[in-house]
Symmetry: C2
Subunit: 237 residues, 2 copies
Amino acid sequence: MDDMTPLPLWRRVSEDIVARIVNGALRPGVMLPSEIDLGREMGVSQGTARRALRDLERRGIVERRQGRGTVVAIRTPETDHFHFFRLRHADGSEAQPMLASETLQRRRSTAAERAALGSETKYVYALDRIRSIGGKRIVREFSVVPVLLFPALEDRIPLPNALYAFWQDAYGIAIQKADERLRAVRADAADADAMDVAEGDPLIEVTRQAVDLSDRIVELRRSRYVTDDLAYTISLR
Amino acid sequence: MDDMTPLPLWRRVSEDIVARIVNGALRPGVMLPSEIDLGREMGVSQGTARRALRDLERRGIVERRQGRGTVVAIRTPETDHFHFFRLRHADGSEAQPMLASETLQRRRSTAAERAALGSETKYVYALDRIRSIGGKRIVREFSVVPVLLFPALEDRIPLPNALYAFWQDAYGIAIQKADERLRAVRADAADADAMDVAEGDPLIEVTRQAVDLSDRIVELRRSRYVTDDLAYTISLR
DNA sequence: CAGTGGTCTAGACCACTCA
DNA sequence: GAGTGGTCTAGACCACTGG
């Protein structure tokens, strides 16, 4: 598993900054040193510091603006939510979901959850939410997160619409990517009860694993979408 | 629409190379000049030529290997097909689809097709395919492409499994990205007839627009997937 | 062994931002 | 006007590839 060759200098610089973000020394919105200063601090040239910052920018971890500087990226409800929430109208515009209901439960983890989240995950929070768009309830989400990573989550109820922005803000856990599997399923009785859909209607079910900056799986999520008026939209490159 | 600032030097270099690929002067698999030679040819430094090549590599247009050189990327049936064909087994492994049937028809374009493919698209080829995986017919694909871009396509029947690799090879049209919209639908009588699925069963329907290196929409595709054993798999970053 | 891309440095000029 | 990132140059050394 180990790589014989050491990491390039620029990568060590960028990983050092990631580590500072993960351990909380750098918080979202904070200004980073300039390329020249960063290079001096780390004992590398400006070009190398520049490359590290460019790497972080490409990964969406920092934001750079000419004349202004480099700041740790903030996951706002806008940027964050719409990046990981893929339902769009027919014209491609973003859908504005509202939270219709929310329940949070603390319980023992299942074997499958421990397999994905790590064996130290004895307890989890199970968060069930229903979202409506344009007055129609068309999304059910079942999220599972380790209690260890999100202590005292029940005290924060009601949770904000955009979970990932909240996690970064309140727990310092930043989502890097989400791996998803989509399948078509029939709405069951519970779906018909919770959403504006008839039992037996086709839904898209999305199973997601959300991965943070430390490459840990920090959330398991299963979502069910009614796709009558909105579609799940992606771009393959 | 126009940008006041001129393109950076490195971008002009990379766009020049893209143009050479588009017009056929550079074909897939061909070796590019080294960074130093390219810089000399274009009157820029090695660093700038390097940046242009890195840009092309990031966009998947060329492949670079230390010690070997830079070549125009080849869309092989493996690399290409599995990039744009997202069905995966439960363990994440790639599914091996077989072509179960194929029909090609030349006809006038519809108004909707002209809106997407360009008003000069008077005629299109409509390609309908059924794919099977593990002996089960679980994919229907309806592709529409302009006759102008793919002349004499009927002479190439049967078309290979991986369409995009074939297009690049036979017509010099390289797919850069594909924008997709996913919805859950019920299998109709034609689906039940063509695939191993019962009428009314839930399917995922994917509507795709494929875009080439010149930013033209060159294909409209509608696919229907049975997701009992396989799931549509993506990664959001 | 010659040639390639990967990394790294040092320095220059420019465009942009903000006080 | 001082400071930032964006671009560009010129040159160095290294690791890898292939004959």
